[in-house]
């Protein structure tokens, strides 16, 4: 009996020893800043740097949540997510379906389609920024040249940066969908062919339901990706124009509050709100959409 207890203690000890490096890294770089955020949210910073912050409790949370800037940022964020996730997922699925054929040379297309995932945000932003440039860009050449220019235009700036995020998400979405398509049970698709399913029925009644775990995974990953988009806006729009062009999505608003306005308290409140929204979205997806997912062998 005592030998068994002693062995169990040794196993636990070894388990904690092996976990320790990961726990330390997560503790220092994730859990501590995360908890520190909650403390920062309770303190208001004076408008001049150097002066001490003072405790205001939840008052600051109320102020931020009722501000026009926050409402505008929330609307922009939801619009951004609503643009990037469905378009990115659908685009990735269509590309994956197109590339899911045993045709010579298809691996070249697969490489091209998935390449956006490894291109940096900065490069993508510069390329698209050039394409949208009012003087040397592609769009003026095509006769599309709104005034003010697209990236300074309150109507078109947010769709434009969404487009870049879609383009970048396409690579990841394509890889996820390709992996999903390749893991589909071939015999079920063949059974459907023999049962007389046409292309449309095959896609909607067989492929999509079988692909539902992949689509669901893509949805969760895509939503988190969209909520965390930052680089495109910072490079193409910048902190001076983001408010005016309605491109100050929540994450960018956090950055503005901290680095431009020097207000860690407001930034902390915003980041907690962003975290909560992402958490709620993910939980809702897990609770309501996962019911429609059919896993293989289920």
């Amino acid at each position: 009996m005592s030998a068994g207890v002693s062995r169990r203690h040794k196993e636990w000890g070894l388990a904690y020893l092996l976990l320790l490096p990961a726990l330390v890294i997560f503790g220092v770089f994730t859990f501590f800043p995360f908890l520190k955020n909650f403390k920062l949210a309770l303190y208001q910073n004076p408008p001049f740097p150097g002066l001490p912050a003072h405790y205001v409790g939840l008052h600051q949370v109320g102020t931020v949540l009722s501000s026009t800037e926050f409402h505008q940022s929330l609307v922009s964020t939801l619009f951004f997510v609503a643009m990037v996730v469905p378009v990115g997922l659908l685009g990735g699925l269509l590309l994956a379906l197109a590339a899911h054929r045993a045709i010579r040379g298809m691996s070249v297309f697969r490489t091209i389609f998935s390449s956006t995932v490894v291109s940096s945000v900065a490069v993508a932003a510069v390329v698209f920024g050039t394409l949208m440039d009012p003087v040397v860009g592609l769009l003026p050449w095509l006769g599309i040249n709104p005034h003010p220019a697209i990236l300074q235009n309150p109507t078109w700036a947010l769709p434009a940066v969404s487009l870049i995020a879609v383009w970048q998400f396409l690579g990841l979405s394509f890889i996820i969908m390709t992996a999903g398509l390749q893991s589909l049970p071939e015999e079920i698709l063949e059974a459907a062919r023999l049962d007389g399913a046409g292309t449309w029925t095959m896609f909607w009644r067989v492929t999509v339901p079988l692909l539902s775990p992949t689509l669901f995974f893509g949805l969760v990953v895509g939503t988190i990706y969209a909520f965390q988009s930052f680089g495109q806006i910072d490079i193409l729009i910048g902190p001076q124009n983001s408010q005016f062009t309605h491109t100050n999505v929540l994450l960018y608003y956090v950055y503005q509050a901290l680095s431009i306005q020097n207000d860690p308290g407001v930034a902390a409140v915003l980041s907690i709100v962003l975290f909560t929204i992402m958490l709620v979205f993910t939980v809702l997806q897990l609770r309501f959409l996962e019911r429609r997912v059919t896993y293989a062998g289920n």
């Binding site: 049970p185 079920i188 049962d195 079988l210």
Partner: protein, 355 residues
Amino acid sequence: MARVNFDGVSKVFDDTIAVDDLSLDVHDGELLVLLGPSGCGKTTALRMVAGLEDPSAGTVTIGDAVVNDVEPKNRDVAMVFQSYALYPHMTLRRNIEFPLRQQRVPGDERARRVDEAARTLGLGDLLDRKPGQLSGGQRQRVALARAIVRDPKVFLMDEPLSNLDATLRIQTRADIVSLQRRLGTTTIYVTHDQVEAMTMGHRIAVMRDGRLQQVAAPQNLYEQPANIFVASFLGSPGMNLIPAIIEGGHASVDGVAIELRGGSGRIPSGPVTLGVRPESTSLGTGGIRASVTLVEQLGAETHVICTLDDGTRVVVRQWHRAARPDIGDAVTISLDADHLHFFDASSGECLDADR
């Protein structure tokens, strides 16, 4: 119902010949078993009937129509897959009626046919469940129901019992046979299991390395194998194959002369491979010298595995009441001269086929 015909059909994948010049006629209403080891081309042949593979050469005919260029859905064939291939997101009712929906069969007619198929296969109470909630045997019956509900010209079955446990396999085997006999639908059944083949098929087509070896009724195949491969593949255990020399109307094995009877008397002198089923051998006196290397007791019978002086392995089948030797015992094996087979020592082809 319809006959199915392969005429000089070949299928080549890159550098591999999966099916080589297959000519075979499956009769109307027949259950023909395609039997052979893994990689012999039997499943590829079946898939060419389904339209899931295109022949590289030759023609496949269903009924009176060559179907080489006909889409799978237009061939009027139903297939049962090894993995069942049920739609996991649909209820059993939706699974079974799926082919009928594609044919735009009206709702009440569809419901009637699904209920009838489900009743035939004992699935009546399970129609609202999904495949994930069923046992392997039940899933297999759903796959069968989905096949029969269409009333197709031909059933194609690709090792449908492989995923079932031994007891269920025997039960489902009998169910499939009785269903096929009752419906009278032409059926091509692929298996590597010779017991399945022997018990189910009107005829068996044995394949090896893409080539058809022999087609015959099960008992004929067992009693008159066309070559060494068929002889050793059928039967459990397979036929014993012993090097022998024909001389002066006798076969000589290890110095023991065995009289040739019937048509075997016409076999020319020289080296041959002598084939004898385990049940046509016995342990006694005055036979071929051997030593016992293993004794397998199977309840109703015992397999005594012996090794001849030249290293040849011979299985002797004994009934359970016979005296059992021990491992290491020196024994002599007698062969039933009325049930010997002779094969060409180099080509393996049967030498007394007209016996």
